[in-house]
Symmetry: C2
Subunit: 337 residues, 2 copies
């Protein structure tokens, strides 16, 4: 049992003992090797190798007060818009030598609060959340821990946390106004779930103010299948709309698919517009007109903001990214009266 092979992991003291130096010297070999004599360094490194010494991350963290980890809470990873956002976020964070812990919430605010606690428990130095609708527990946690936290995918200068995002209402409005400018007035709107999805809610709000008398609304889960289903319902409407506004490209993809399946011509018979501008959206049939959400730039900006906050204590100011209309083949001016 005393066989060193079976002993637990070696620590600094073990290395120091074997190398016949003090713990300080070993620590120096690790952190400021230039201040150690070559000969000593060699002896210490030999001991390190022999004992297979690996410094404990926790012990280092306790001294530096740093974990170099930030947590992101997103509804899901299994959706291109979040995956792309997190990809950009991770890439930039790693430039700041920060690691990204991803926690998914399924859009459930209480799961979010729970997972936020988990992130604090592992020592996350910063938090990134999606949207502005959260449980009070989340805010209490952030306040109690004095945790740098930003809300993304949403813009609201008055929000408790700095928001780094785009104008969801504006994106909805841009899509609607484009359809209106093409002469459409009978418009079906297909949107995602309204429970705890403030982005969808905001996009819907963006549609207000215009004459909604000729608009009908269809709720669907964010999947191609549910987009198909929504299209199906729309097609069976007595008063068939001339345009379909989807608040998410995934839904638009399903809608386009179903319209094609039922041989409804897009954009001749019905125009379709989305919001997101996913990688695949340029390659649907017909290519989808949509509102581009700049998630990559948002990811980079979020990484920079949270990093500066953590390193320099500089709370970032909110940041608004423009969304822009990408006109492709799925929309056209309404013909006839």
């Amino acid at each position: 049992m005393d066989n060193p092979k079976y002993r637990k992991r070696a620590n600094l003291r073990d290395v120091a003992k074997l190398a016949n130096v003090s713990v300080a010297t070993v620590s120096r070999v690790l952190n400021s090797p230039d201040s150690v004599a070559e000969k000593t360094k060699a002896v210490v490194n030999a001991a390190i190798t022999e004992l297979r010494f690996v410094p404990s991350a926790a012990a280092r963290a306790i001294n530096s007060g740093r974990s170099r980890v930030v947590g992101a809470l997103v509804p899901t990873l299994d959706h291109a818009i979040f995956a792309r956002y997190l990809a950009a976020l991770e890439q930039k964070l790693s430039e700041y030598r920060l690691s990204l812990v991803v926690a998914t919430t399924n859009g459930d605010a209480s799961v979010e609060a729970l997972k936020a606690q988990t992130l604090v428990d592992i020592g996350a130095e910063g938090l990134i959340v999606s949207g502005i609708t959260h449980e009070p527990e989340l805010f209490e946690l952030i306040e109690r821990c004095q945790l740098p936290a930003v809300a993304t995918s949403y813009f609201d200068p008055d929000f408790l946390l700095p928001t780094i995002g785009y104008d969801n209402a504006g994106a909805g409005r841009i899509a609607l106004e484009y359809l209106l400018s093409l002469g459409h007035s009978a418009i079906a709107v297909v949107h995602g779930s309204l429970t705890s999805n403030d982005r969808t809610l905001a996009r819907l709000e963006g549609l207000e103010g215009h004459d909604t008398a000729r608009m009908s609304f269809f709720e669907a889960d964010l999947s191609i299948e549910d987009g198909c289903e929504a299209a199906n319902k729309i097609l069976s409407l007595e008063d068939r709309p001339t345009a379909i506004l989807c608040l998410s490209d995934v839904l638009a993809t399903g809608v386009l698919y179903e319209l094609k399946r039922q041989e409804v011509a897009v954009p001749d018979d019905i125009s379709v517009i989305g919001i997101d501008d996913l990688p695949g959206s340029a390659h649907t049939f017909p290519a989808l007109t949509t509102v581009h959400l700049p998630v990559v730039r948002m990811g980079h900006a979020t990484a920079t903001a949270i990093s500066e906050w953590i390193e320099n204590g500089k709370r970032p100011s909110e940041r608004l990214f423009e969304t822009d209309l990408v006109i492709r083949e799925s929309t056209r001016a309404r013909t006839g009266i």
Copy 2:
């Protein structure tokens, strides 16, 4: 300066002092509250609240020897197959109360080795890598830290690390044999980059053993655009193939798009088959025949395996998941001779 408001974060000792109890009691209130008298608990909790005390994750980790973090190294997040895999992984890991740190490598083995070191530096207790091609540094790191590590998206019972994945060569073979069974022999193969992508390599290997005289190969980046481009090249071939085998659905999506754009009938003129079975693949035109990769089950199994390894020291055995052919609309028996 002595104003407590400006003092640094409170620690256990501060709480103990304020509550007039010992540090042990405060620790007990936190970890085994039942063993503390109600009255004491109340006093301690009041002190905790007053001082806004939040226990240090690092200090806990140093004692428990646990960080409850595992790291995953993937080529990219911005691809549905990895995003879906990580989604499944994260979901299951969180059931085991483990958090997931994601690091992307861009398919670069030296970036991977570097980021693996970062993961160790933040105290990751386990590592999940993609495929079996890695820098020696990565293996040394794993060996030196005695780190539980599994390789996924690949199956090889003889590999140094336990592999939890599917048979890439088999997936390629299944796709090819299906095309052959339909009477196709002039087949164009569109594949991703061969540099440091052993999955692609293995899929290609799966095509060997059959008569490759009538097969032509096209390398493309894993994007719809590059799939389009590849299709373009294939269509300009003198001896146009009757089937296109794409080693990834993303490429197949691009190929289908370009074929449609150029008004080549699928599957009448050309059959197209993919590998992956992405969410969107059932909704292309025509719906894509493909080989389903069970990434969700693989994610769950990986989470369970790494968790057991970490908790109980039980090195998992390798695990093979079946891939299966999903026949949809993009393939058909070759007509004429």
